[in-house]
């Protein structure tokens, strides 16, 4: 048992195994540390929670946030909910996909960016709203999106 991914997963799981519903906070930690949920996650951690592998797989697949593939260094999420639609997010969505050459759920070839949608960031009076990792942006038009992305490119 000297697979480094497995031992890291077990180490993390030990922190949550006695907590009520500990699988969710564990998966958040795994996603944070690896950038995604490694394939061996479910089979590795399930016994600690007295669950079957299928049950843990089921949890992972249920939530949009948990990703099965490595993600970009930065995650760009465009709000596509109603209040942002009222402020033109449909145009921003189309522009972003075209500009980044990505569909929702895809990651750029250089591994820098992943593009995703989000349903509301609670900034609904100042849409279109965009989240990049834990930073929030409002009143985002094409130009502002470009400058955000350029900032990420520069800081790579």
């Amino acid at each position: 048992m000297n697979d480094p991914i497995k031992s890291r997963l077990l180490e993390l799981a030990a922190n949550f195994k006695d907590e009520l519903g500990g699988v969710m906070p564990l998966l958040h930690q795994v996603q944070k540390q690896f950038g995604y949920i490694p394939e061996s996650c479910a089979v590795t951690v399930a016994p600690l929670f007295r669950l079957s592998t299928a049950e843990v797989e089921g949890v992972i697949s249920f939530y949009h946030q948990f990703k099965r593939e490595p993600q970009g260094k930065h995650r760009i999420q465009i709000c596509r909910a109603e209040a942002c639609q009222a402020n033109g997010c449909r145009e921003l969505e189309a522009f972003s996909k075209e500009y980044l050459q990505l569909e929702y759920g895809q990651t750029s070839a250089d591994g820098l960016l992943s593009l995703d949608s989000v349903y509301c960031l609670g900034l609904c009076s100042h849409g279109p709203a965009v989240r990049v990792d834990d930073d929030l942006f409002v009143e985002v038009g094409a130009e502002k999106l470009q400058s955000i992305v350029e900032g990420l490119n520069d800081g790579r």
């Binding site: 948990f66 109603e82 942002c84 639609q85 009222a86 989000v118 349903y119 609904c124 009076s125």
Partner: protein, 520 residues
């Protein structure tokens, strides 16, 4: 020389608008100025926000005990002349006068949000100076039944959307015999156009914590969970800090304030699933499972988290409890009308001139509220969606409806969590209806066929309506859509599938021209 007290908001929205830079620049400029004239020292407090979003970043200064406001301040506005005006509270092109005299704030009835934006949200002393923990201290004096009775007399109904009487839920949990009971706060705030929960958690987190402790005392629960959506990272930070401070000051933990009662509170984060706002789905998610909705009964009050009696309440429901205990249920019930008692924190969003948080007693007309908010920021106001993605699209002919639960039911709409989204006349209501179906398809938990499959069919049918080139085909497809809506309404276990038909039907009924109804 007295210190000058300056306030710069630090909620997610003001930060997105540059508030951190504004605060930094003000500090730099004053420090420089102070060096030159060796005059005043100053404090910059990062307060929550007043909820007047069109004025963000709203910078305030305290002059003779009154707060004078400037806004909206962008980082580039912070030059010498601005700082000079700010330090003395004098006139400037960004002046908006005394904060409390801002008309859109002055006319509000802020009960749950009484402290919004006054102080640093994590300053627990300031919280208590402004009435904080008075409700908890009162509750400690009461028996559990007396607490529930107080909530009963307030007439409070759940603010998460379903408007269920809070006291009935609490009584059920109180009456259950069980070794372990739980208080769960629903902080999943998934509805587009809503941000009241976010504001409460970011800008007055102790108020929510206080409400949860009181709920624990009322029903005999010593453990609580806040289930927070992961889309709110700043709320998570604020809550974690607030919980740590409350533990340190013995408002949480063992033997709270010497009462002999314990309460432990934990924060849990969701993972981007709208359906986890539905209470049974939320509880499964808290248990570390898929967020599948379960049939009721059993209701969570009897068999909730880990099968134990559980209160699940929305953030604003719980945050309304402290003032009800502090001032009495009758005080709260004095606001509002009919069976809609107290106040609701309306959230004005979308294409709105003066967006933000508007707390009012139930009963004013939708039109009045839209007028206070100034209508659209660009274009002409055409349609309003009330109550989130499962709420109705309303045309001007219905804007005189009073904002109360029953009046909105009567027009096949709902007040929900109080989100109000404004659209100008460029909106295409057929596209909005299509989106409602698409959203349902994306967020369905998958348990019921009408919700899971019906919503995808709904998208296709609406596409065919939009593409229809004969009146006959249009009519046929609209009949299909009607049938589909009926199937979804009747065959769905929860409101996700059952209420997706509300935006769809209202769009079709009130904005038929966008669906080519009657076109040749």
């Amino acid at each position: 020389m007295m210190a000058v007290n300056i306030y710069v908001p630090a909620d997610s929205l003001s930060i997105a608008l540059g508030a951190d830079d504004v605060a930094k620049r003000i500090a730099e400029k004053i420090t420089k100025k102070a060096k030159q004239c060796s005059s005043s020292n100053f404090n910059i407090t990062r307060n929550g926000t007043r909820g007047l979003f069109w004025l963000e970043t709203l910078v305030e200064v305290e002059i003779d005990g009154c707060r004078v406001a400037y806004g909206p301040v962008r980082p580039a506005d912070v030059d010498d002349s601005f700082v000079e005006a700010l330090c003395s509270g004098s006139d400037h092109r960004l002046s908006v006068g005394l904060t409390e005299e801002i008309p859109e704030l002055k006319c509000q009835q802020r009960l749950s949000f009484a402290r919004l934006g006054l102080n640093d949200p994590l300053d627990i002393t300031a919280y208590q100076d402004c009435g904080g923990f008075a409700g908890l201290r009162q509750a400690i004096q009461y028996s559990p039944q007396e607490i529930v009775d107080e909530v009963q007399s307030s007439g409070l109904r759940g603010r998460g959307g379903a408007a269920f009487p809070t006291a009935i839920k609490w009584q059920t949990v109180l009456d259950c015999q069980a070794d372990q009971k739980y208080i769960v706060c629903n902080a999943d705030e998934g509805d587009s156009g809503t941000f009241a929960d976010r504001l409460m958690m970011e800008a007055d987190p102790f108020c929510l914590i206080e409400g949860m402790i009181i709920a624990g005392l009322a029903v005999g629960a010593d453990q609580g969970f806040i289930y927070l959506r992961s889309e709110y990272p700043r709320a998570a930070d604020q809550l974690l800090s607030a919980i740590a401070i409350a533990i340190e000051k013995n408002f949480l933990g063992k033997n709270i304030l010497g009462s002999g009662r314990d309460f432990k509170l934990q924060l849990r984060i969701g993972a981007e699933a709208y359906i986890c706002g539905e209470e049974t789905s939320l509880l499964r998610s808290l248990e570390g499972k898929r967020g599948m909705v379960s049939a009721k009964p059993p209701i969570p009050a009897i068999s909730g988290l880990m099968g134990q009696p559980t209160i699940v309440n929305n953030v604003i429901t719980l945050a309304s409890i402290p003032i009800i205990l502090a001032k009495g249920g009758a005080f709260y019930a004095n606001y509002g009308q009919g069976r809609s008692k107290g106040t609701l924190a309306f959230q004005l969003a979308g294409n709105v001139k003066r967006g933000g948080l508007y707390e009012f007693a139930f009963g004013m007309s939708l039109r009045e509220l839209l007028t206070i908010a100034g209508g659209c920021k660009n274009g002409k106001l055409h349609a309003v969606q009330v109550g989130g993605p499962l709420g109705a699209y309303l045309p001007e002919s219905l804007w005189d409806t009073p904002l109360d639960y029953e009046a909105f039911m009567a027009i096949e709409a709902g007040v929900g969590h109080g989100g109000i989204v404004l659209f100008n006349d460029e909106v295409d209501l057929a596209q909005q209806a299509r989106f409602a179906m698409e959203f349902c398809a994306a967020e369905s938990c998958g348990k019921c066929t009408p919700c899971r499959i019906g919503s995808t069919r709904g998208v296709e049918v609406i596409d065919r309506i939009i593409a229809s080139d004969s009146a006959q085909e249009n009519k046929q497809q609209i009949e299909l859509l009607d049938d589909l809506c009926e199937t979804m309404e009747l065959g769905s276990l929860c409101a996700m599938g059952g209420m997706t038909v509300i935006p769809v039907r209202s769009a079709l009924k009130h904005f038929g021209e966008d669906f080519k109804v009657g076109a040749k």
